[in-house]
């Protein structure tokens, strides 16, 4: 009985948020609408989907799994939003995750360092990787796609070097906690909220967000207005590298081993997809941070739903792609203009 009441309260809140977003023409409306559709589907067709349980002070349930598993991509997508907003792209974040994970595991197991130092060192590798990308794009002026493919391809090699080609297993309570811990809700999602808070604070608490948007929308004009486009572009890659390191720690900790070949594999694509679903234009400009996180959760919700419905993993990408395509189309100005004008068109034809 209380569960039904809780579900009713949840849906009322969700619909209210949707209504408000729609009224403000907020871009987060579309990904949230799609997410709601999936939740609605599950309400009717997936038994136990909404069953949340408290066990030992931890919250368990399918929705909790979704936000837990979405965390890696959500963190990546926050850094990626800044990069894409500044008119760039970072294809190397998956490989950087592997480097960060390898560093953490290697220092803990082979060098016997304390977990705190392992984590700091891993974050430093992300920082370094971001600086490398930033250097190539901002200083050497290599097109972002090309510049970041270099690290995307070579990064896993670097990670293999660090682990000497081995899969390093570890078992340290602190390191395990990053990807598996709970503080009521899963720690990876708490990390996501923290990274979101930091990203939001850094971009909106200062003028950096505005400057990124200006550079991404018209770099030439931004430079003529006295902005240092180089510095800004450099910084967004550094930030994306840092986010990738955080995501790498989560992933590595989650499987308790540094597997250089598989950590973060293809996640750069999911991150880019989350950003696009969120409504940030691939050509740069406005940043939509919260919307990107919703995009990441949407991708994970689709995947989880497919598992729950026993859709064969072979065909699962197809329905997933269709939903993503639909959201991307709705985000496109052109399609939206067409839909908005449809009544007029129909009228026009009718008069003919």
């Amino acid at each position: 009985m209380t569960r039904i009441a809780a579900i009713a309260v949840f849906w009322t809140c969700l619909l209210a948020v949707l209504y408000l977003l729609r009224r403000q023409r907020n871009v987060a409306f579309w990904p949230l609408l799609a997410l709601s559709a999936i939740l609605l589907f599950n309400l009717f067709f997936t038994p136990h989907f909404y069953n949340l349980e408290m066990r030992g002070g931890h919250l368990y349930g399918v929705p909790i799994d979704i936000i837990n598993h979405a965390s890696k991509v959500a963190v990546l997508s926050l850094g990626m939003t800044l990069v894409i907003g500044a008119g760039g792209i970072d294809l190397s974040v998956g490989a950087v995750m592997a480097i960060a994970g390898a560093t953490m595991a290697h220092l803990n197991i082979e060098a016997g360092m304390a977990p705190g130092y392992c984590i700091l060192a891993a974050l430093a590798t992300g920082l370094l990787a971001g600086m490398w990308n930033g250097f190539l794009v901002a200083i050497m002026e290599i097109p972002p796609m090309v510049a970041t493919i270099i690290l995307m391809v070579s990064g896993r090699g670097v990670a293999q070097l660090i682990t000497s080609g081995q899969i390093i297993n570890f078992n340290n309570p602190v390191l395990n906690f990053i990807g598996n811990g709970f503080i009521l809700i899963p720690f990876p999602f708490i990390l996501t909220l923290v990274v979101f808070g930091v990203t939001y604070g850094v971009t909106r608490g200062t003028a950096l967000g505005f400057m990124i948007e200006a550079v991404g929308d018209n770099e030439v004009a931004a430079r003529r207005a006295g902005l240092s486009a180089k510095t800004i572009k450099f910084l967004v890659y550094v930030f994306a590298g840092l986010c990738a390191a955080v995501a790498g720690l989560v992933h590595t900790s989650n499987i308790r081993s540094a597997d250089a070949n598989n950590i973060g594999l293809y996640l750069e694509l999911d991150a880019i997809m989350a950003v696009v679903i969120g409504g940030t234009a691939m050509t740069g400009g406005r940043l939509y941070l919260a919307s990107s996180v919703i995009g990441a959760i949407l991708i994970q919700a689709l995947t989880t739903t497919m598992y729950a419905k026993d859709v064969s993993p072979v065909v699962a990408p197809v329905p997933k792609a269709l939903v993503i395509l639909a959201v991307c189309l709705l985000q496109s100005e052109r399609v939206r203009r067409y839909l908005a004008d449809r009544p007029n068109r129909a009228q026009g034809r009718g008069n003919e």
Binding site: A214, D217, G226, N344
Partner: protein, 502 residues
């Protein structure tokens, strides 16, 4: 009795969020008529044309070609009704050849394979009808051709589809005089064949040279349709501006020369040069004075300004400010020294199109403050509202995206961006390019006001009369060299032309 009109538009309505761009507009085009569409920036000219060519669906009203109602859904669709358009930015594909561009979408095919020989043949024929066949190589890549040739190609495309209506939106703004003449003679020929031509331009001379009829729009409404022969120039300008004729006369008057000798020099430029851009040049910029730069296109006017503002760093010479020599190697540096620069190409290097008016206005100010000192939202709103009011920027709100403003209003936003940092030197490169008469007068007023408040200004304009009217001193440039400096009473159009021609 007059023949039945070729094209009629009746009661056309079109709204954008927050803007009613067209209100009950009528427009009538007859065959064999050149019809000028006039109005200030933002009057709705481009919108009317876009409605006609199916870029935007109309909200209301009727359109008919030779009595048949039409509902074009895209420019391509409009071509099917015989309506062909040459936009200001040539809308062809630069990497294709001339022939491909003329026949694009209607290539001759055999079994699905394009027959290139046929295509080239057809392209030549279309150019021949313009008597241009020997001047233009149909196999040349379009991007290698001059803007003038590109426009001719666009017109040839119109001929190839047997268009009955040809629309030219600001066709001459990037053409030199000879090229414009060529265009006008082509227009005359097309007119003789019975084509109806809609012509949008800011140049009054050209309107009177070629048009038969003039339709004037103002704030999205029809002011009236006139016969060109019966509408005096002053009257036309007055109607476009919604002002009385006497008022117009006053605005066009030359500024009184107020130079007092011994004004304080703010900036001295000494032997400033950059290879391939400008040869060593000297000049002073004084407090409360406008220094004009005159010269033909390519004489080094914009290049001088860009080196001064650090867009392209100088490789020799120096800039002396308050008696101290400095190097300006980036716009950021120039800004810290108190320079501002309105660039020549608004779209390319001026506006941030997808950001709001407010954000565009505070951009330079924020850049100067650095990323950590964010301008508080309240203050940003006040600054934006202040400039929207002071410069009379026409917009429903400060949150409107700049790309949705008309050219003149965009220009004002960028001027506001620079005024917000209280520069001591403001460089204005073509401040009135592509802008209607009314806004032009307002910008000239503003230049005078800033000068009187003690600002130093550097003014570049292709319109000689504008330089003459507004400058206290004029540098004349030729082939990247300064060839003369005129002051006070010596400044006149004749004198400048004479100097250049020497």
């Amino acid at each position: 009795m007059r023949q039945e009109p070729l094209l009629t538009m009746r009661g056309i309505e079109k709204s954008f969020p927050g803007v009613r761009a067209l209100k009950d507009v009528d427009f009538t085009l007859r065959s064999g008529q050149i019809h000028a569409l006039m109005g200030e920036n933002g009057a709705g000219k481009s919108t009317l044309i876009k409605v006609l060519t199916g870029v935007y669906p109309r909200d209301g009203g009727d359109m008919a070609m030779e009595g048949t109602r039409i509902f074009p859904s895209s420019p391509r669709d409009a071509e099917k009704f015989g309506i062909s358009t040459v936009y200001q930015e040539v809308n062809l594909i630069p990497h294709l050849t001339v022939a491909e561009n003329i026949c694009l979408g209607r290539e001759d095919r055999a079994a699905g394979i394009i027959r290139w020989k046929k295509v080239r043949e057809r392209a030549r024929k279309a150019l021949a009808r313009l008597e241009l066949d020997d001047g233009i190589d149909v196999e040349a890549q379009l991007s290698d051709c001059s803007i003038a040739v590109q426009q001719m190609v666009a017109i040839a495309r119109a001929l190839d589809i047997d268009a009955k209506v040809l629309i030219l939106d600001e066709p001459t703004s990037s053409l030199d005089e000879a090229e414009s003449d060529e265009l006008f003679s082509i227009m005359a020929r097309l007119k003789k064949r019975g084509m109806g031509i809609i012509f949008v331009t800011h140049f009054l001379d050209q309107v009177y040279r070629v048009s038969d009829a003039i339709t004037v729009l103002r704030n999205g409404q029809l002011v009236g349709e006139y016969s060109a022969a019966e509408l005096p120039r002053l009257e036309l300008v007055a109607r476009m501006m919604g002002k009385r004729a006497e008022e117009v006369k006053r605005l066009e008057k030359r500024a009184a020369v107020t130079t007092k000798s011994g004004r304080k020099t703010v900036i001295s430029v000494r032997r400033l040069a950059r290879k391939g851009s400008i040869n060593p040049i000297d000049f002073d910029l004084n407090e409360g004075e406008v220094l004009g730069l005159a010269g033909l296109l390519g004489s080094g006017r914009s290049e001088t300004a860009e080196v001064l503002f650090g867009v392209d760093a100088a490789d020799a010479g120096e800039i002396e400010i308050d008696g101290r020599a400095t190097k300006v190697d980036s716009p950021a540096k120039a800004m810290r020294l108190g320079f501002g620069m309105l660039t020549e190409d608004r779209k390319y290097s001026g506006i941030i199109p997808n950001l709001s008016i407010k954000e565009n206005i505070i951009l330079a100010m924020q850049a100067k403050l650095g990323p950590l000192k964010k301008i508080p939202p309240r203050q940003a709103n006040e600054i934006a509202d202040g400039f929207i009011k002071a410069l009379d920027i026409r917009t429903p709100s400060r949150e409107q995206l700049v790309k949705n403003l008309s050219g003149g209003n965009q220009q004002k936003v960028i001027i506001a961006r620079w005024l917000a940092i209280h520069p001591r030197l403001l460089i204005l490169d073509e401040p009135t390019r592509g802008i209607d008469v009314g806004t032009r007068a307002e910008i000239e007023e503003l230049i005078r006001k800033l000068r009187d408040e003690g600002m130093s200004l550097l003014l570049i304009s292709s319109e000689l009369d504008e330089v003459v009217r507004n400058s206290q001193r004029v540098l004349v440039l030729r082939d990247r060299n300064k060839i003369a400096e005129l002051a006070g009473e010596d400044i006149s159009e004749q004198r400048i032309l004479h100097t250049i021609a020497q």
